[in-house]
Symmetry: C2
Subunit: 404 residues, 2 copies
């Protein structure tokens, strides 16, 4: 058993492991505690050369005790691609893109749900529910389907139709909610006792943060056991930032890395930017009032992150920042990444737009190595955008007439 128990990210209280209540009495979030000294005795970097090419290569640092309960569809160990052409054009040192769209469900959400559904299996739970802007719902649906667990998913009405359609394909009971993600969450909270649902929403259980943690572990391994100077990450509920921050501290405790923490940059879309606003409030800067209705229905649209204080403290601890990008900056970034062969979601595009903004305002240094995350495929967002009008031809003569 690798996991020791839980610890509170706010007051440092230690508690025995329990599956679903993740709020400490102090209001902080409970995270999984490991005996890193003990783990470090057998888990060495060299062991990884013989491990599987998925995030379960780090099983020693994941909270599932019974290997028979691991529910895996081949998630993680995604490519880290160097964008050399752009690296030369921008005033930074190195530029990398972590291609999370290559996960089994076409998004980074596969990671968290592989662990969460494994924990459900291990604890003999049979019903799970999640509020989601789409990709978390489709990931729960897929992993629960594979594990034989009943999934119910609740998604705001305006979310990308293709992602919504994946959920019934994977066998989930799928409901569209006339409201935001917190309205969907309220439905689950209201019904969870009567329906027997385990709520696997962000920070409601320990698996999702632990799964997202593997993004940080992989980054470090792929860069030769170094972290980059800066991570630009599209942020909604924040489990990715929390997970990668936790990965940094665990690798440090294992003495596998040293050096400072990467500066975490959270990007959001203008109109729903609680992290940007929260950081501005901490810094006593002027806040942009949040106008939720105009932000697009992406994974970044989370008006009330479950532990905003923890996200802000990570940004501050790391020397990072947060910024909000406009719809047009995001749309332009989709085109730029597309022409580089990258199928970028609006979230991944926001990371790119954030990179350009931080180059423009001088926040990034010429020596910085920067990692961007593309969290999902562009195509999952089709139908939200209009289709291009393309020429129809029959012969090469038709082609020539068109291209005269």
């Amino acid at each position: 058993m690798n996991r020791l128990g839980l610890y509170c990210s706010r007051c440092s209280a230690k508690l025995p492991f329990r599956y679903v209540e993740m709020k400490c009495d102090c209001g902080g979030t409970l995270l999984v505690d490991y005996d890193l000294e003990c783990i470090g005795r057998t888990f060495k970097k060299e062991v990884l050369t013989t491990r599987c090419p998925s995030m379960w290569r780090y099983k020693d640092l994941l909270p599932v005790s019974n290997p028979d309960c691991i529910i895996t569809l081949g998630e993680g160990w995604t490519p880290l691609v160097r964008l050399t052409t752009w690296e030369k054009k921008l005033p930074i040192g190195q530029l990398w893109l972590k291609r999370e769209e290559q996960n089994p469900t076409g998004s980074f959400k596969s990671r968290g749900f592989s662990v969460a559904v494994s924990l459900l299996k291990e604890s003999d739970r049979t019903k799970a529910a999640v509020p989601s802007n789409g990709n978390a719902a489709s990931a729960l649906a897929a992993y629960a389907g594979y594990a034989g667990i009943e999934a119910s998913v609740f998604i705001p009405l305006d979310c990308p139709p293709l992602i919504v359609e994946e959920c019934p394909l994977y066998g989930a009971a799928t409901y569209l909610v006339d409201g935001f993600i917190h309205d969907a969450a309220a439905i689950i909270e209201a019904g969870k006792h009567e329906q027997g649902w385990i709520n696997v929403g962000t920070l409601k259980e320990p698996g999702r943060v632990e799964g997202k943690k593997t993004m940080g572990l992989e980054l470090a391994e792929q860069l030769g056991w170094k972290f980059p100077d800066v991570i630009i990450y599209p942020t909604g509920g924040g489990s990715g930032i929390i997970g990668m921050w936790k990965a940094y501290h665990e690798l440090k405790a294992l003495h596998w890395i040293d050096g400072p923490m990467p500066r975490f940059v959270c990007v959001q879309e203008e109109g729903c930017q609680p992290i940007v606003d929260g950081l501005a409030a901490l810094n006593q800067a002027a806040m942009t009032p949040a106008v939720h209705a105009i932000a697009s229905p992406t994974g970044m649209r989370v008006p009330n992150p479950p532990d905003l204080a923890l996200i802000l403290s990570i940004i501050v601890e790391s020397g990072g920042t947060a910024l909000a990008l406009s719809k047009s900056q995001i749309a332009e970034a989709t085109q730029t990444l597309g022409s580089q062969g990258i199928s970028a979601s609006p979230e991944g595009s926001a990371a790119w737009a954030g990179l350009l903004a931080l180059c423009d305002n001088g926040w990034l240094l010429p020596s910085d190595s920067v990692v961007l995350f593309n969290t999902s495929h562009a195509m999952k967002y089709a139908k939200l955008t209009s289709s291009p009008s393309l020429p129809i031809i029959r012969t090469y003569e038709d082609y020539r007439s068109l291209n005269k």
Copy 2:
């Protein structure tokens, strides 16, 4: 330089390496010839533990000489997932699924175009064109975009609209063709001299087969340097089957594997089944007349594969078979795989339907280990199917009323 030259798959003639003409005077297809004895002196299995988690881990067996010309977006080294639940239900030994949808462009076509575009770069070509039912076009578009090569793609009018839309996103000049894939190919052949296009269609250049070869190399490595007994593979132009057959022979020559060749099973959709019909003709069995118009516009719809004789000889050499599945068998398979958490394209679904048919008719043996290929994401085919109608709710009370 690993590549020695080219050899003819039909008459065994040896030729110097040349980039684009792949037909031998005898009518056979030219394939890349390697000095395997020389390669084997430095390329050992153990080397792979230090190699990158992409198909370029096998760069010693790929035809790109200048490492600076390798165009990679993180393709290959895709998960091989064991389907234990179904394995127990079916009269076979082991059941595996190779998840090719997790490639950078959401399909197995990434592999061939990573090599083909690298070769274009290496030989200073600046313009490429491809006829395609969709996924090859989007892969050329992505890799060419990344490499700064001008791509023109020609796609039958009825192909999946989302795949078509990816091509202009990646910056390719995109044309819809009122006809089949061979009509699209005819346009390229007619215009290639005037336009300066390199035709990167199936078997028109050496890169695509070599890229697809890595599927076979990976299978062997992932199974502990063993091939499975049976590979069920959705087949259109056939470069995947040719590539995996070539992988088997090269690994055998390197003494990395032994044992018989896997039995290759080609699956197609009823209505466009030249491989099934060709095999029936070889066996002097009754042929189903091909009615091209009714087969769905998938990667399997290739009425005239460029080297049908080679595909048939591989099936015969391996002791394999070919079969055609109906639209309804394929649609049902999509549901079955979906409920297992697998986003299966019609092509991957055909492989599943083929598995069930070969279990039913007793062709598969109780000891057989079987690998299926899911070549692309289900979602790329959306809009061809109708959207499900889903309930809209605001509160938990609404949920209860619906589920009374």
